[in-house]
């Protein structure tokens, strides 16, 4: 795909989300409103099939090309699991599984009890998903959310929940095609976090230039300036981290790159959210002001699919296990340009 088509895709995502995924729409869906109209707009635009190969009537994009869509979802506080759906549909199409309708969430993990009960803990987007993809042993199951008992794990407005089924539902689709669901979830949460951080940064900068205390905009105070500079550093690092994580032309996320990105971004999240709220003052913690739509998501994304404590440990293990004497050589091989993997099956 040439650079210009790449930009066209990013632009069309941007335009649609700006028009259809407004803060008012986000709030309505979070309050239990019907998400069908937003979802239909997204699927009619073909965004759910961004990663589905062309021979299955998708857009045939690789991860790097789909990244702008994931990031845009973060920037617009997307209340539906669009990025997850796109990942899972890309996987299912490659696995030869018929593609189901409706939003698909990704479970960080699943447990099947001896009595056959299935449960998935802390699934982002569970309250608005029709399906959830979960790794069970060597298989991946696509479970119908309508049949599940849902227990919210988030605060007011959150769409995350624990899901459980007394037995495996009859309509469950199963496939044994390999897929790293945790890495896929981590990648989409890291990518969306990066977009969310960029939005929070814009809000914070604007507020610092607008809010006047002691006769001048608070952005004139050095203490505020330095906090915003630190925020800018984390936002730039987060963006680069997800670019690295999604780089290459293939579809399957590389677990080490994802680990680096999810860890680095997880570490940045509390700092970025704390600075944003500090600079905004009291207005920032109101329900009415938009900031909370974004900082709330950041905290949720940090927790989902493994926090930095989990992913950093994986990076550390990979470093110790590598043949490289020099860390610089380890870093180079971990982030080297990857050859096209095309449509892996």
């Amino acid at each position: 795909m040439s650079e210009s088509t790449d930009d066209l895709f990013a632009d069309s995502v941007e335009r649609l989300l700006r028009d259809q995924c407004t803060p008012a729409v986000v709030r309505a869906i979070e309050a239990g409103g019907d998400p069908a109209s937003l979802w239909n707009a997204l699927s009619e635009a073909g965004f759910c099939d961004a990663l589905v190969p062309e021979e299955h009537d998708g857009a045939g994009l690789g991860l790097a090309e789909a990244l702008p869509m994931f990031v845009a979802c973060g920037r617009y506080a997307m209340p539906l699991p669009l990025a997850q759906t796109a990942m899972v549909r890309g996987y299912l199409a490659r696995a030869g599984v018929p593609l189901p309708d409706g939003p698909i969430a990704i479970a960080p993990a699943a447990t099947v009890a001896s009595n056959g009960a299935v449960s998935c803990h802390h699934v982002p987007g569970a309250l608005v998903a029709h399906w959830v993809l979960a790794a069970v042993g060597n298989e991946h199951w696509l479970l119908p959310v309508a049949d599940a008992l849902r227990t919210s794990t988030g605060i007011h407005g959150s769409l995350a929940a624990d899901l459980s089924w007394p037995t495996v539902p009859a309509s469950t689709l199963k496939t044994s095609a390999p897929f790293d669901a945790l890495a896929a979830g981590a990648l989409v949460s890291a990518a969306q976090s990066s977009g969310t951080m960029a939005r929070i940064f814009d809000l914070t900068l604007a507020h610092a230039n607008r809010r006047v205390q002691f006769g001048k905009p608070i952005g004139k105070f050095q203490a505020i300036q330095h906090q915003i500079s630190v925020m800018a550093e984390h936002v730039a690092a987060a963006r680069m981290a997800v670019e690295l994580a999604a780089s290459g032309l293939g579809f399957d996320p590389d677990p080490l790159r994802v680990a680096i990105a999810k860890g680095r971004i997880g570490e940045a999240i509390p700092t970025v959210a704390a600075i944003a709220h500090a600079v905004h003052g009291a207005i920032g913690i109101t329900a009415e002001f938009d900031l909370q739509l974004y900082t709330r998501r950041l905290h949720e994304w940090r927790r989902a699919y493994g926090s930095e404590a989990y992913w950093y440990e994986r990076v550390g293990r990979a470093r110790l296990a590598s043949d490289a004497t020099l860390t610089v050589d380890f870093l180079r091989s971990a982030t080297a340009a990857r050859p096209t993997t095309g449509t892996a099956s």
């Binding site: 960029a198 900068l205 550390g316 470093r319 860390t327």
Partner: protein, 383 residues
Amino acid sequence: MIDALPLTAIPPEDEALRDDVKRFLVEALADIPAEVRAHSWTGFDAAFSRRLGEQGWLGITLPPAYGGGGRSAFARFVLVEELLAAGAPVSAHWIADRQSAPLILKYGTEAQKRQHVPPICRGESFFCIGMSEPGSGSDLASVRTRATRMDGGWKLSGQKIWTTNAYRSHFMIALVRTSGTAEDRHAGLSQFIIDLSLPGITIRPIEDLTGDRHFCEVFFDDVALADDALIGAEGEGWAQVTAELAFERSGPERLYSSIVLLDAWVEWLRSQTPGDTESLRLLGRLCSHLAVLRALSVSITGKLSRGESPVVEAALVKDMGTEIEQLTATLITDMLGRHPDVSPPPALERMVNYVTQISPSFSLRGGTREILRSMIARGLGLR
């Protein structure tokens, strides 16, 4: 600004340099223990610098007409990354290679370029930076050292301080006042290339808290300078020094000051029974930060190679980089102390102590953390 740092790959022709550098360093550094290499780019070895010159690796981005390598900023990135990763003693030529020669090529006369750049590229001429003074640190525009016009040249009086390597350099490029007073700020400043063997110059090394001698006090007592000591235009010193600082801040040396220590610790961890998850987590954290910082640094190199001057972006990466360099030392210390009954090798202990003690300098030299953050804020449109 934040979106303006795209993921950038080092072109294959520049990446190809890496193996040659690695091979050279294995041989050249064979006898230098890690403990010494942990001094990173402050390790001084004139003979080593001359050997790099023989390889064609000094002034690698400078025009061949002046003895340079004529290669891209990416080639320099690869070279410098390998030198720092190995802990090569690069201090002797470091300043001349990184900022003095590019400055002379940008602002110097043809005669100045011919005089200075080829010996720099051969590793025979070492430079130091005369910016700071006792009364002028972060507030550089307040310098008081003064050059006064006289017949056939200039008379220089005043004092510089913290001048790295002054006592073992051939030349200093100094920022001094040529007209007006400190109150005139950016106006009336000029830069001079000062031959440090001239009469009237006294240089005293200052011992640092680790016992090393690198920075110095330099006194100018009516030093007679020839006309051609002025570099660039009289009164344009501020603009020139700003450009010089941009050269200083944009290289990979702002990520790797603690990298030799990190690798020594990795070697130690490998010798231990696995399972210390806290250590693994820290190792992963440091590696993750470095992977991202390295990608940002390569992206900045891409901007340099396109002729842009990514000053604010470089400040952003330097500020994050020095923080990780500092954390590397303090957190490895914590991990080594996690098991009071286990004794790491004394050389590793000395290394981590050395880096911990010297690490405050990482966020002072080349502009303090606070100054960088104010630059970033200005770049973001605050102020």
